[in-house]
Subunit: 279 residues, 2 copies
Amino acid sequence: MTVVAVCQLGPQIGEIEANRRSVEASVSEAAAAGARVVVLPELCDTGYVFTGREEAEALVASAPESATLDSWRALALGFDVVVVGGFCERSATGELYNSAAIVDRSGVRCVYRKAHLWDREQLVFVAGDAPPPVVETDVGRVGVLICYDLEFPEWVRKVALAGADLVAAPTNWPSCPRPAGERPAEIVKVQADAAVNGVYIAVADRCGEERGVTWVSGSAIVGPDGYPLAGPVLEDRPALLLAEVDLGRARDKRLSEHNDLFLDRRESIYALPPLTASR
Amino acid sequence: MTVVAVCQLGPQIGEIEANRRSVEASVSEAAAAGARVVVLPELCDTGYVFTGREEAEALVASAPESATLDSWRALALGFDVVVVGGFCERSATGELYNSAAIVDRSGVRCVYRKAHLWDREQLVFVAGDAPPPVVETDVGRVGVLICYDLEFPEWVRKVALAGADLVAAPTNWPSCPRPAGERPAEIVKVQADAAVNGVYIAVADRCGEERGVTWVSGSAIVGPDGYPLAGPVLEDRPALLLAEVDLGRARDKRLSEHNDLFLDRRESIYALPPLTASR
C-alpha cells in the first residue's frame, strides 16, 4: 500500500518565496503523514492570473523554473517522496509553457507541457505537443496531466494506455456556477476519467482568490472505480488530502468474467469516419 | 424548446405482450405530457437476462423485431413523437444483435447495433461494427448509443462529432455496490460524456428484478454542461422523466472567450503513439 497526498494550496501571483515556503511546509507535512507521492497545484511557483505574457516572462526571469525544480529535488531527496507539481517554464528559445514535473530522489524524471490551454493561457503560453509521460517510480507508474487536459478523454486515455497506475493532475480550476447540491462538473469528469481507464487520479487544485478569480478548490483523490477516496475539498482553504492505495489494482482492468476496460476497446472501428448528421 | 422524455420500465424476460403494453402506455403518457422524443430501455421487448443464445433465438423467432418496430412506428405516427428504444434483433443471416432504433412518424430512421457488449451478452449477441448513427428529426439531431457503449469515450465522441444534439441511450445497468452517498459511476460517466461533448444525453434505464438481477434504475436526462435536468431516479420502480430543453444549445461548443470543446481537440497529437511506461 502507498500513501498518496494532495496539497491544496493558495499560491499568489508573483509571491515566489512565499509560494515556495508554502510548498515546502505542505510536502513536509505530507511526508510526516507517510506520503510517498505528493501532488501540488498548477503553476504553484508563480501563481496563475497573469496580466499577460510580459508579466509571466518577467516572473520566470526573476525566478526561473530551475529554482523551483531545485527546491522540489531537495524535497524529494530529503523526504524520499515523488513530487508532482505545476510550474511556469521558459524554454531555451524563450517560449513559455504551463508545465509540470515529476521529481523523485534521483532528480527530475520528466517535464510535461500542458497540451490544452484554458482561456487566457493562450495569450501567455505555447501548448505542448508531446504525449503525457508515465514514469516508473519506486511506488508505481506515475503519469501527469494538467487541468483542462483532463477534459479531453483522448488525452486521458493516452496516459492510461501508456501504463499509468496513478495520474497526478496539478490544476487551477476557476469556479463557475453549478446547480445546488451538484458536485462540480470538473470533478465529475475526473471521476469518469478514472473509472473508464481504471486508474487512480490525484488532483491538486488551488484556493485563495487571486486578482478576483476564485476557485473550485476541488482537490481529490479518486480510485479506479471512479469514487473519491479523499476529497473533494470544495472549501476555499489550504488542505492536505491523504489516501492509502494499492496502486497495483490499476493494472487489473477486468470488470466482469467477460469484460476488460482496455481489451473491450475497439480501435479498428473507432478509426472509422463518423456518420454525418445529414441522413 | 423541446420536451424530452425517458421511460424507466421493468420489462420481464419473454413477456413480449406485457412488455409491449407497458411501452405503449408509457409513450402515451409521455406524449400527453408534451414529449416530442421518448427514450425506452435496452432490450425492452424481450427482457435482458437470457439463459443463453438459444433462449434469445426462440424469443426473437416467436416475437420478431419487426413486430416491435411496427408497434413503435404506430406510436411515433399516432403521437407524432420520435421513439428511441432497444430491442432484440435477428439479422437476415441469423445473428442476434443488441440493437436500438430511432423511429419517427416517417418510419424507422435507423437501426444501431451495440458495439460494446457487457459480460454474458457476449455469449448471445454479435457486436455491431458500424458507428452510432445521428438522425435529423423534426426536433433536432438525435444520436443513439446503448448502455456499455457509454463507457468508451471514443465512441461517445464519435456520435457527438457526427452532430448529435441529443444522445438517446437505452440501458440495462445491473446494480453493483457503491460507497454511501455516491451517485452511481454509470451516471457519473454519462454526466462526463455530456459535458466533454456539450450534448444532451437521455438515459432510459430499467427497473424490476429479473432472474435475480437488480438494476441501477438510473434513468436521467443530462444537459450539455453535465448536470442532470431530470433524475437520476435511483428507485426500483417505473418512472417517466421529462425535461424541457433547447436542443440548439448543443450546437454551440464555446466554453470561454478562447475555448471551444471541439476546436480545442488536438487530433494530430492524439494520433501519436503513447509514451511507454519504461522510462
